[in-house]
Symmetry: C2
Subunit: 214 residues, 2 copies
């Protein structure tokens, strides 16, 4: 199923060639922001460092993103867009659960992004943090997607009796977050994707892979 991003973006204006060049610069800034915020946290990472890493002036950066919060929002939005593309083809139910596990597997190729999200999720628990409301909405949003798919799976007889879709959905994302911390810390030989697949299997009458193939 399609995961629609929360943060909406205005379509960029301007002639085609200039737009393409501008879009490429924008991507370069977002990559740099991901690296700087991912390595140092959002609070400590500075726009100066992001500009330097992207190879543009700070004025050039401010032309694209007027402040740090706008830059952070764009980084989050791009990640949500990509997650959306990853899972767009799956229908609600078992297929979406499989797509989530696949997404976790692909995410492991981008440790910088995972680090940014791990630090940001924790930092943003402070009500005054600029990403606080984004994070709250994001958890509610991903939880609601999982609840929908788990309810479908339950109605199709795939869940073990007594499994509550809401509790399971909240625990699934909690486990995901916590496994990422262990994975980043390199403890317990953790694979995030294997871990959440194992957790899903605990609640199914048959393993996920088997259900996906039948």
């Amino acid at each position: 199923m399609a995961i629609t991003p929360i943060v909406q973006e205005e379509p960029a204006a301007g002639p085609r060639g200039a737009y393409r060049k501008s879009a490429a610069t924008r991507e370069r800034i977002l990559d740099a922001a991901l690296e700087v915020f991912g390595a140092q946290g959002y609070d400590v990472g500075s726009l100066r460092e992001v500009a330097a890493l992207a190879g543009i002036s700070q004025a050039g950066l401010l032309h694209h993103f007027p402040n740090k919060v706008a830059l952070l929002s764009a980084v989050l939005e791009r990640r949500d867009d990509r997650a959306s593309e990853q899972t767009a083809a799956a229908s609600p139910g078992i297929e979406t659960l499989g797509a989530l596990v696949d997404y976790a597997r692909i995410s492991a190729l981008k440790p910088g992004e995972i680090e940014l999200f791990a630090v940001l999720s924790a930092e943003a628990t402070r009500p005054e943090h600029p990403a606080n409301s984004y994070m709250r909405r994001r958890y509610e949003w991903v939880t609601s997607i999982a609840v929908e798919s788990l309810t479908t799976a339950r109605d199709q007889g795939h869940l073990k009796p007594g499994t509550d879709p809401t509790t399971m959905a909240s625990q699934l994302f909690a486990l995901w977050d916590g496994l990422q911390i262990q994975w980043l810390l390199k403890v317990n030989n953790v694979s995030v994707a294997d871990g959440i697949e194992h957790f899903i299997d605990l609640h199914l009458v048959k393993p996920l892979r088997e259900l996906l193939q039948s």
Copy 2:
């Protein structure tokens, strides 16, 4: 079972009255550090603010803790000491699992401490962070305690067939961490203690509470 803290402390010297006064100041500094680091993260929180909140001069603070890393270590150590006290009376197996759930329930009374740990666990995933090796050792340590108790529980026939103590221990602490984030963000109506008890119950042949009473 006893949870022995990783960070060892030198016994404080000096005459009894002065020691007691000094110990009280030390506690006040640690409370202040918990609040400052918990609210702002370790990276951003400053010794100046900790000293101000504790009501002493910065020179006074430096007399107790020569630098920020020493202060952070003492905060972590005190928390481990208290966790150790909480679980010291439980014997390995089901009883220790119950003590962990109880500890989660008591921890919910100290959101500042949970916030510090949530932010710190994420920040400390960077290898150059001063708490990186502490966090790695702490995860290995708490995991080993849980593995010991889960192995005992398995040998006593309390675990469902096919449950691997090592995987379950790693997932238990991952879930714990992730539920704390949701709890701090006030999403999904999460209770950390209920969540981990529910997860433990998923793996037991009978609910934990029932086993503890029998």
